[in-house]
């Protein structure tokens, strides 16, 4: 990458929830609808403050529940507004009906999921189970590693969502507790540069609530006869095409962000110390920091281990994953959620799918940790690396390992 002159940016110390709210303010959204829920609550409180202070010229709608939150934003988006909300866990569950409809209506909403483990057992702490449970709905989902990445990704999400070849809603996922409340120093871009980066909002060019140009939005489509079945297939395939297109757009937008603001985040997957690695661990979200430390420590002891972090989980970056992992002798995948259907982690199952096209079969194992706010420490990652090294030697994959089982 050519050297870039860093633009003037100021520094602030804040947590991930405030960073997301600041990003939404910089994106100059028109309407925010909110309902507070732990660990998202402070995020929408920051938004309410920024609106009250006059930093964000937006309508903020404090509705009676998450179902209404997203329904309000549907109307706003179809009327041409740039929109935002945030939720998690039970709030996401209550939002499910309009959540299902959002991608089909091709509305470029941005919604943060401050990830939280799902009930039950009762829990208010972090975990990816909420976001992972809705992975097949058709939203783009990107997982952040740091508070800075939360800010940058939330702004980039608008440019990705509103791209005419994409026109899909985006979930920016940041870990409950770890990123939501973890404070650190971040760089804050200038307002006018963000406005120039995002460009003119044009979100209802394809479907609009406009009394002067009336139309029916989402009429009955499908059924067993006439043009219905083929029309339904056409719209479904259109959604899939938007998802596929988004992979390239996500890469382009991240590259442009790097050029303009001097911070280059890996758009789909990040390869860390993979150049001469013989085996790899795969991570997602904020756990990656401790995992990188563990990889560094193992490297000092001579282990040929690398790390691949998944940022974009939906659509799944199959080619990027295959490219990153195809020459590995073993892969250990660490999930912060459970795939009940396969008795493993969901990211593990997705990784297996990507590796199906590898030239040779790669032994792989699933590790699940960090459920309900549990910490995944460098020691945990050390054991993951050791177990994956053994897998590279003997090729015998064991059952799913639950990292916090004996904590």
């Amino acid at each position: 990458m050519s050297a870039v002159l860093k633009p003037k940016q100021k520094f602030v110390v804040c947590d991930g929830n405030e960073a997301a709210a600041r990003a939404v303010t910089l994106a100059q959204v028109d309407m925010v609808a909110v309902y507070p829920i732990t660990p998202q609550s402070s995020l929408v409180e920051y938004l309410a403050k920024f609106v009250a202070d006059g930093d964000l010229d937006a309508e903020i709608v404090d509705v009676e529940g998450e179902h209404s939150v997203l329904s309000v934003l549907h109307g706003a988006a179809l009327a041409g507004a740039r929109t935002y909300t945030a939720t998690c866990g039970p709030g996401l569950a209550f939002m499910f009906e309009p959540y299902l409809r959002t991608p089909g209506l091709r509305m470029p909403l941005v919604m943060t999921i401050v990830t939280r483990d799902t009930l039950t057992p009762q829990s208010v702490w972090g975990g990816h189970q909420d976001a992972m449970s809705v992975r097949e709905v058709g939203w783009i989902q990107m997982y952040c590693e740091t508070v800075q990445e939360v800010l940058d990704t939330t702004i980039m999400a608008y440019k990705i969502a509103e791209h005419h070849d994409v026109m899909l809603p985006v979930n920016v996922c940041h870990d409950g507790n770890y990123l939501s409340y973890g404070a650190t120093r971040i760089e804050l871009p200038e307002q006018d540069q963000v406005a120039a980066f995002l460009g003119t909002r044009d979100v209802n060019w394809h479907a609009a609530l406009d009394p002067e140009r009336p139309m029916a939005i989402d009429p009955l489509t499908g059924g067993a006869g006439g043009p219905g079945p083929s029309m339904f297939v056409r719209y479904r395939k259109g959604q899939c095409a938007g998802m596929r297109n988004s992979l390239q757009v996500i890469e382009q937008v991240h590259a442009e962000w790097g050029r303009v603001f001097g911070r280059l985040h890996a758009p789909l997957v990040e390869s860390y110390r993979m150049d001469d690695a013989r085996y790899a661990i795969v991570t997602i979200g904020s756990m990656t920091g401790a995992a990188k430390d563990a990889v560094d420590a193992a490297r000092e002891r001579g282990a040929r281990v690398g790390l691949v972090k998944v940022k974009t989980f939906r659509p799944f970056p199959k080619q990027a994953m295959l490219q990153a992992l195809k020459n590995m002798q073993a892969v250990g995948v660490v999930d912060r959620s459970v795939n009940f259907g396969w008795n493993c982690g969901p990211l593990f199952q997705e990784t297996l799918g990507a590796l199906y096209d590898a030239p040779a079969r790669i032994p792989a194992m699933s590790f699940i940790g960090g459920l309900a706010g549990a910490d995944i420490t460098t020691d945990h990652f050390g054991s993951v690396i050791e177990r994956t090294a053994a897998l590279a030697r003997d090729g015998i994959a064991g059952e799913t390992v639950w990292l916090n089982e004996h904590d």
Binding site: R106, M107, D210, R213, P214, A216, R234, Y235
Partner: protein, 96 residues
């Protein structure tokens, strides 16, 4: 009433696999999918207008000596038959 100041939405200019929209009114009326049709016995009808009050689609029309139905909008629900105090209305199956 405001006049139309913008051009009508040109659906042909956007991809047809995005959001499902309809810009032309659907000409289909309830009568197009009715399976049962109300028939009035003119000798029994006293023009009490109970059918007129109850009809959910307001398809009851007044004739000189009886009430009848606009079959383009009647959906064949049979509420008129059920409510008629003189049993003047019967439901007859539409022929296939």
């Amino acid at each position: 009433m405001s006049t139309q100041s913008k051009a009508p939405f040109d659906a042909s200019s956007i991809p047809n696999d995005l959001c499902p929209i309809a810009v032309k009114p659907n000409p289909m009326l309830p009568g197009d999918w009715r399976s049962m049709r109300p028939v009035v016995d003119r000798d029994k009808c006293v023009k009490c207008a109970v059918c007129w009050l109850y009809c959910p689609v307001q398809c009851v029309v007044e004739k000189a000596a009886w009430f009848d139905f606009d079959l383009s909008t009647c959906k064949g629900c049979g509420i008129c038959m059920r409510e008629c105090p003189h049993a003047a209305i019967s439901m007859v199956e539409e022929s296939a």
